[in-house]
Amino acid sequence: MKRILTLLILISSTLHAGNAWPGIVQQSRPYLVEIEYYEAMDSPESLSKKREVKRQLSGILFGNEGLIITHSSIFPAQLNFLNASLYGSSELPRDITVRLADGKTIPATFVGKDDDYHVAFIRLDMKKPPRGVKFNTRYRPQIGDKLLLLHLLNSSYQNAPHLQELRINAVQQQLRPLYLADGETRALSFGLVMNGKGVPLGVAYTRTGSMGTSASGLIRMRMASALKELLKNPPVYTRKKRDNKKWLGITMQPFTRAMARYYSADSINGILINTIMEGSPAQQAGLQIGDVITSLGGIRVIAEKYEDMDDFRDRIRSFPRDSAEVRFWREGSLLKAMVHLTATPISQFLADSYEIKSLGFSVKALTKDILLAKNMDFDTHGVWISQVERAGSADLSGLRIGDILLKINNTPIETLDNLKKMMETIDREKPDYISLFIRRGAETQFIFIKNLTARR
């Protein structure tokens, strides 16, 4: 009955005033939800005090299983080791609550996220979730297309639904095309993109970085046609799992036309391998520095500018199969190899950590991002100092975040297990000083820390 009424209103409004908006708002509003959650703010300088900050986002309820799609900033930890930073929390968002259009507040749990698309998924914790939006996945967007964007204003505007018209002003052509529209919508965190008739087509956001920096005057849109797979099978995040993307383990640059001329290989275009990481799929496949990759999985690789690298990287990351045929040029001949694509190494956010409260520091297993940042060999094993409590015992003795821990009391430490065992001995014997042998930059040194739990 309600539906028919909506339809009638829709028809009547289009017929009479030529204004379809009230109908569209009424029809789509139930899909828009407000999400409230707590983000853990890990301070590298404090072990015990975990600060939490309340945050808000909007999201879109879709499908029939209570799934909500929202912005990936709900879990800002960078999972990909290549652009991970030293700081930030790896704690999942806590106490997520979702306010539906009818005002009901329902708890929800974090499902997973995709940093390449900047989207994340949460699920309502209820038996019979309300029906969500059904996206049209056949829409092929074009520059100039007129679209509607519906989102919820923030709480200072009582979360009123906000509908606006926009056009696709620019298309960033990549493996995952991004549609850009002009618009000053600072209150937008995540919204629903529709065509002029209110048919749901995709999602929009203004936040770009994981930390929620907003772009000035540009609305970014992802269409359901590209998100199809993610909507069907949302990524599931588990603490122990590796990054669910694949990697080749090289750094690369475009093999430009000028370079092709230099090598008298005018017809060759592709990606020039300049570094191969230890133990990577590329190394195992026998690829070498100086090889030019011309095709991947039967698809030609075109690379003339540095931006083209992103496309190639994206293609590797989301490659549908575990192995790929790579064709490449090496010193005048065209060769091919099968590359077994494995999961991308994890970033420090996903690394195991171990807190030593009595001394005021915590330690993490070395991940590839830290090795790159510290200019260390890519196959180094060990642990590094990830937190140092401000004015704690370790801090006062001069230990710093980023130091590589080599030995404790003259015993080499290569894994967190080594360290745990060592700390058990220390807890038992309670020496009043503990010696750490560390590496900082090019130099090693000893740091003697007073053990505050020592027997008097």
């Binding site: 750094t251 640059q253 430009t256 000028a258 370079m259 001329r261 230099y262 020039l272 300049n274 570094t275 520095i289 100086g290 790159l372 200019n375 260390m376 060999d377 890519f378 003795s397 003259n410 009043d432 000083y433 503990i434 010696s435 042998f437 930059g441 090019a442 130099e443 090693t444 040194q445 000893f446 003697f448 007073k450």
Partner: protein
């Protein structure tokens, strides 16, 4: 009667106060008169590489003449890379000078005034005092050209005689402690003398704390005397190198519960260094060097040990007594040569590139495996090197597929390649643990 007593007291005290004030003033005047004529305002024109190009720049510093025939002392950071040095004596006569020797490790330099050209037979000079006798609270004066204001004098006391500074980038002082003074020292005072009330040079002013108030630092005169003598005799200070970084044992004593432990801890051993070859390891406690007991409980005692090693003959065996895991042993390290501080520079002008030789310091800083390669120290905007995305800090390892072992090799390849301007050159660069190819494009044939 009471009034009389007061008057009497005043009468007795007053001349006394007057006398001390007079003598203090006289002492200051006398000391100043001894050194002031030897004070030099130095304006070197430096040739530096900036943005991939050779550029000229004039700086201002101070100096002090130490001999009648015109030798003068200043800071290395004033005189280094000087192409031409113009000096103004305190008589305001202008004299050119040439650089005799530089010692970046102590930030000292010796220059010689061209007296003949200036038509002078001799010049007034100042003499050194013994910096070991300097004490905290002693009145001192700093002479020089603060912020370019020549022939300035400021006064204060010695605030500390054993200030220790860790090395930070190019600001290093491994072999000396510093005299700290509250006599105002500003940029431009660099290289000027710090003098006592006898008119003796007790230090050469070299550093001040930016935004700090009255925190100036001088290199003690005994270090200066040593360095000057070495430069005058050999043109440079010869130092030996074994590749050990030392650490004081104050906390190590507590860790071992041995409050009377003596020695110095090995904190790090450089890769491929004489110490590494001799089997010295981090954690070793060195108790004697060449039979002489050594100990550094506090870090202020480290420069003396570094100096002791540095003053050994290069290539000579050096016996170290070591305690390792409680056992005494001895190892013999054959000393090596302390590498260059600053590498030779080269301007690959046609490519808009300035390059620097890899010195042991740079190799350590970039954590390189060996000395192969040359460092890009600057890239000119819009140049072929810039177009090839080359950046400052890149290390060139390959030139058209051939290994670039050192700056000389690069120069040879470069000179040969640039005879034909249409030829392109492919370089391999190393940035941290990653490589990058850079194509320097030749001009298109017409």
């Amino acid at each position: 009667m009471k009034k009389h007593v007061t008057a009497l007291l005043l009468f007795i005290l007053f001349p006394g106060v007057l006398l001390t004030a007079q003598s203090m003033d006289r002492q200051i005047q006398q000391a100043k008169d001894k050194v002031f004529p030897a004070l030099v305002h130095i304006q070197p024109v430096k040739e530096i590489f900036s943005g991939g190009e050779k550029q000229k720049m004039q700086v201002t510093g101070s100096g002090v003449i130490i001999s009648a025939d015109g030798y003068l002392v200043t800071n290395n950071h004033v005189a280094e890379k000087a192409h031409y040095v113009r000096c103004t004596l305190s008589s305001r006569q202008e004299v050119t000078a040439r650089v005799i020797g530089l010692d970046p490790w102590t930030d000292l330099a010796v220059l010689k005034l061209d007296l003949e050209e200036a038509g002078l037979d001799e010049v007034p000079y100042a003499s050194f005092g013994n910096s070991r006798n300097v004490d905290v609270g002693q009145v001192v004066m700093a002479l020089g050209s603060p912020l370019g204001l020549s022939r300035s004098l400021s006064m204060g006391v010695i605030s500390s005689v054993d200030r220790y500074f860790e090395d930070v980038g190019d600001m290093i002082s491994p072999f000396n402690l510093w005299l700290q003074t509250d006599a105002a020292i500003n940029p431009g005072n660099s290289g000027g003398p710090l003098i006592n009330l006898k008119g003796e040079i007790i230090g050469i002013n070299a550093r001040a704390v930016v935004f700090g108030e009255n925190l100036g630092f001088a290199i003690p005169s005994n270090i200066v005397k040593f360095v000057v003598r070495q430069i005058l005799e050999k043109g440079a200070v010869e130092r030996s190198y074994i590749g050990i970084s030392w650490q004081e044992i104050n906390d190590f004593r507590k860790y071992l519960h041995q409050p009377s432990l003596e020695g110095v801890l090995v904190a790090a051993v450089d890769r491929n260094s004489p110490a590494e070859r001799a089997g010295v390891r981090p954690g070793d406690l060195v108790t004697a060097i060449k039979g002489r007991m050594v100990s550094a409980v506090y870090r202020e005692e480290l420069p003396r040990i570094r100096l002791m090693v540095a003053n050994q003959k290069v290539g000579a065996p050096l016996k170290l007594n070591i305690v390792r895991d409680g056992k005494a042993l001895s190892v013999t390290v054959v000393t090596g040569e302390q590498g260059k501080f600053q590498g030779t520079e080269f301007n690959a002008r046609k490519w808009g590139l300035s390059l620097e030789e890899l010195t042991p310091r740079l190799i350590k800083y970039f954590q390189l495996e060996n000395a192969a390669g040359v460092l890009v120290s600057g890239v000119k905007s819009g140049s072929p090197a810039d177009k090839a995305d080359m950046r400052r800090g890149d290390i060139i390892t390959l030139f058209d597929g051939k290994a670039v072992n050192d700056l000389e090799t690069f120069k040879q390849y470069y000179q040969k390649a640039t005879t034909d301007s249409t030829k392109s050159v492919m370089l391999m660069l190393k940035v941290n643990k990653r490589n990058r190819f850079a194509l320097i494009e030749g001009k298109k044939k017409k």
